[in-house]
Amino acid sequence: MSDAPATLLDLKDVNVFYGAIHALRGVSLEVRQGEVVTLIGANGAGKTTTLAAICGLLKPRSGEIRYGGESIVGAAAHTLVGRGLVMAPEGRGIFPALTVQENLLLGAYSRRDKPGIARDLQRGFDIFPRLAERRSQKGGTLSGGEQQMLAIARALMAQPRLLLLDEPSLGLAPLVVQTIFATVDAINREGVTILLVEQNAHVALKHSHRAYVLESGQIQFSGASAALRNDPRVKAAYLGEGT
């Protein structure tokens, strides 16, 4: 336990308001180097808000967010990408009028190393051969599953240290969900730390090391994912197995 990996992301008592609505109530969580950590919870629990606060889309009213030891509260989203904090947003955020390849290259927008970008583009096509077939097609013509593949491949183009994935299973067929999560595992094995937000607690707990459960803007409990899968509270509320 003494040689636990360093903390990469650390949230301490983060409060976020939308006008008068108190959306995050003192959220604290940490993600250590090399982990897959998942944040599960019902619709409206504050999962996406948490990610938005981390990646600079929202400014918390109070609390501390540290990434790699440095405070990133108030840093603009675009400045964090170059530091390896990369988000694949909910709803996938594909640019419909841009081709698959243009979408991927935008992912590498903050990079200048042309050979490296070309190599990572090829790697993205190797991971998702479907994207290679459709590289000059417009993003808007892809199916939901293909768009999710594109969103993940595009996030990888930024060479993330910490990858934030927001609802990657949303609206996808079970078989496609499996493909996506197999890739998530593979990306993590290559050394990318992942913070995964999911409504599908089943899949999320299977593909993560630790989990936090968020309810009404508060962390209710947390623990090792394997343990939480057998936790009666999780079973009842999120896995649909009444006790």
Partner: protein
């Protein structure tokens, strides 16, 4: 533009009007690309754009006037080409800076406000610029110095003024270059990404504010070129000259499909030609053409000729 040639041949006359219309339409196209890019990114009709066009005319007029010379025995001053180049650079950079300043001061604070607030602000900025223009430049019309012999060049059966040829060539080159920039470069891709979804563009590492500034700078630079070309061709500069030209350019952008650069170019040319045709028949109706076109487009195909209708599925 040029008066009709003395010919009874209808086809020749139509062709002649086409040529005049293309020259006119090229200027509309230059101004229309600015409307279309800004609308594409901010969903804002930047009414102040037409006044940036007016500023472009004045910003090119003053260097040309101060650096021009009076040829022996001539009635009007003349400017050598290098002065035109300087005037061009000055007008383009001053207007680009003005466009960025307008965005920074007037529109950015309203980025998240309702679109109506931004629209009203745009009208306010437009009125402000016209009045500042009257204070600084004076309300009396100014006349751009001569730079060419203003002779016509015979192209087959028709004659085109040399100044019109300059307009067509310069406008085509500028609009083409802008289109290539937006379609082929990394920064252009960032602009297109911002016009779809600024938030996600930011998540890609795109500096959204800088991209919006650049959009205004480029659009304003194009308007400056349009202003300078029209000042050189029809030397009558007034602080309100942007009003009608701006409205017509806006119609051109809507006609071609707002958001699209090729659409703006096409819309500008079509509108210019239509105006010339109607003007040949009855000059008093020429200015009305644009507004008839606007009404018809909005009724029949609001997305314009090259515009996409609706949003694609996400």
């Amino acid at each position: 533009m040029l008066p009709l040639l003395e010919t009874s041949d209808l086809a020749t006359r139509l062709l002649q009007q086409c040529a005049n219309g293309v020259a006119k339409g090229s200027v509309y196209a230059l101004v229309a690309v600015g409307y279309t890019r800004v609308y594409g990114v901010l969903q804002l009709i930047n009414f102040a754009h037409s006044d940036v066009y007016m500023l472009g005319a004045y910003f090119s007029y003053y260097p040309a006037k101060w650096l021009g010379y009076m040829p022996e025995g001539a009635e009007k001053p003349k400017v050598p080409f290098y002065v035109l180049g300087l005037a061009f650079l000055f007008a383009v950079s001053a207007c680009a800076a003005t466009g960025m300043l307008i965005e920074r001061l007037a529109y950015r604070p309203l980025r998240n406000a309702s679109r109506l607030s931004a629209l009203i602000t745009a009208i306010g900025v437009s009125i402000l610029l016209q009045n500042v223009g009257q204070m600084v430049f004076g309300a009396d019309p100014k006349s751009f110095p001569r730079y060419m012999d203003q002779e016509s060049v015979a192209l087959g059966p028709i004659a085109v003024a040399d100044t019109s040829l300059v307009i067509i060539v310069v406008a085509a080159a500028m609009v083409g270059a802008l289109h290539l920039f937006v379609q082929r470069t990394r920064t252009g891709a960032a602009m297109r990404a911002c016009s779809h979804d600024m938030r996600t563009a930011g998540l890609m590492g795109v500096n959204v504010n800088a991209t919006v500034s650049l959009t205004f700078a480029l659009g304003s630079a194009m308007a400056a070129v349009g202003g300078m070309l029209i000042a050189m061709d029809q030397p009558r500069l007034t602080p309100t000259m942007g009003l009608l030209a701006g409205l017509k350019a806006f119609v051109a952008a809507v006609l071609g499909g707002i958001g699209s650069i090729p659409g703006a170019a096409l819309g500008g040319l079509l509108l210019g030609v239509a105006e010339s045709m109607v003007g040949a028949w009855n000059t008093t109706y020429a200015d009305a053409v644009a507004f008839v076109v606007l009404v018809v487009v909005l009724l029949v195909k609001p997305s314009g000729i090259l515009g996409k209708s609706g949003r694609e599925k996400v």
